[in-house]
């Protein structure tokens, strides 16, 4: 738990320190609805259903017209219920149960966005981020569950498009997609990799 708190505190300090170091430019708030689709080990071992319950946000400082960086954070709730099956708990012990996996993920990332066509009305961008992935993994046999909380690494690569509300405006609508690499070497699992589709707003704060 101490490790989790230290990781979050460190990321928050770095994220808020970046604008102060840069000294000028605009500060923007991103708020996006997020749809997430599990991939690879996540899809095969835990949850194959897409999750419509999530958001991705962030505070970004514009260093110049092309580059902004800051702290990105989010939340996603994954859920899947599997039909009743008999599982072997040991060589001699079997359990018949409806298995439910319920996983809540809270990424806290340092993230940079690059806008190659900063002077055009529509502003496409690519993004890169890395940081902590706080994972709450609950597994239920019937109504009886176990919960495990861990902090892992998470890296993100994304593309998106910002559509300003008005010409030369810095606030606007945002659509984007990202691939998230999230190793999860616990309890025989491999990863929580996923792709995400976001839509929301970008609001200039100053």
């Amino acid at each position: 738990m101490k490790k989790i708190k230290l990781t979050i505190a460190g990321l928050i300090i770095i994220g808020f320190a970046m604008p102060a170091v840069a000294q000028n430019g605009s500060l923007k708030l991103d708020l996006n609805y997020n749809y997430s689709i599990p991939l690879s080990g996540f899809k095969n071992d835990l949850v194959s259903n897409g999750s419509p319950r999530g958001f991705m946000g962030g505070l970004f400082y514009s260093f110049n017209n092309h580059l902004s960086g800051g702290l990105s954070f989010g939340f996603q709730d994954y859920y899947q219920k599997y039909p009743r099956t008999i599982y072997n708990l040991s060589k001699t012990q079997q359990i018949s149960a409806v298995l439910t996996n319920s996983i809540q993920v809270t990424p806290v990332l340092l993230k940079a966005k690059y806008f190659p066509n900063a002077n055009s009305f529509l502003k496409p961008y690519v993004s890169l981020g890395a940081g902590a992935n706080i994972i709450d993994n609950k597994q239920y046999f019937g109504e009886f569950g176990n919960s495990q909380t861990n902090v892992g690494f998470r890296a993100q690569a994304g593309v998106g498009l910002m559509v300003p509300f008005k010409k030369s405006g810095t606030s606007g609508l945002n659509v984007g997609a990202s691939y998230d690499y999230a190793p999860y070497k616990k309890y025989g699992y491999k990863d929580l990799n996923n792709v995400n589709i976001q839509a929301g707003v970008v609001l200039e704060l100053r």
Binding site: R53, G54, G57, T92, S96, A97, Q104, G142, F144
Partner: protein
């Protein structure tokens, strides 16, 4: 000021809205889906070597480490269901006085004052719930040859235990060779007793003569 307020609202309201949308696992289960059936057995035992069985005529109600025996409609429904599926598995029911190869106990474990008891605790005092005298072996103790996992029992469970009486004299103990545990919503109900016991037998294909 207005923008800072907007930021604060966004930073707090948005996460709260989405985090509150987390899908509740238990609320998304039907009564049937809430139930689990756990079986364990002694892998060194050949269940085909037993021919006859006898079953207790009442159910042990186990609460806070103490037990009483009750002959309720629900208990009777469970006892009858066990008889039905033992018969279907090829075993013949006899009275306790006819030296059955197997003895069967049915137990209802219910909530405790502390809210939690473990199945491990349940085993610790098994002789207190079912006096070995009941099965004709007053000086013997019970023994479980396999490692039974510990489960937290919060709101009630039904367990069924099969005892090896055929080899009790030779072993000087009564081995518990099969256990079945039913947990979940509404399991202690006579209308579901048959289906609950069937589930235990269905996942114990080795339990046949």
């Amino acid at each position: 000021m207005k923008r800072i307020l907007m930021m604060l609202i966004g930073l707090t309201a948005f996460p709260i809205i989405f985090m509150s949308c987390t899908k509740d696992v238990v609320k998304n289960l039907t009564t049937d889906e809430s139930r689990i059936y756990i079986t364990d057995h002694d892998s060194t035992v050949n269940f085909g070597n037993f021919k006859t069985y006898s079953i207790s005529d009442s159910v042990a109600i186990i609460q806070n480490g103490k037990s009483s025996h009750e002959s309720s409609d629900v208990g009777l429904a469970y006892i009858n269901a066990v008889k039905k599926y033992m018969d279907q598995a090829g075993y013949q029911m006899v009275s306790r006085e006819d030296n059955p190869d197997l003895g069967i106990d049915v137990n209802h474990i219910i909530n405790t004052s502390t809210g939690v008891i473990s199945y491990g605790d349940y085993w610790d005092d098994y002789g207190g719930y079912w006096d070995p005298y009941y099965w004709g072996y007053p000086d013997y103790g019970y023994y479980i040859p396999y490692a039974y996992s510990v489960y937290q029992v919060k709101e009630g469970a039904v367990s069924i235990d099969i005892l090896d009486l055929k080899n009790a004299s030779e072993d000087h103990k009564i081995n518990v060779i099969w256990t079945g545990l039913i947990r979940g919503e509404g399991v202690f109900n006579s209308s579901v007793a048959d289906s609950q016991v069937k589930a235990l037998f269905d996942q114990s294909s080795y339990l046949k003569n």
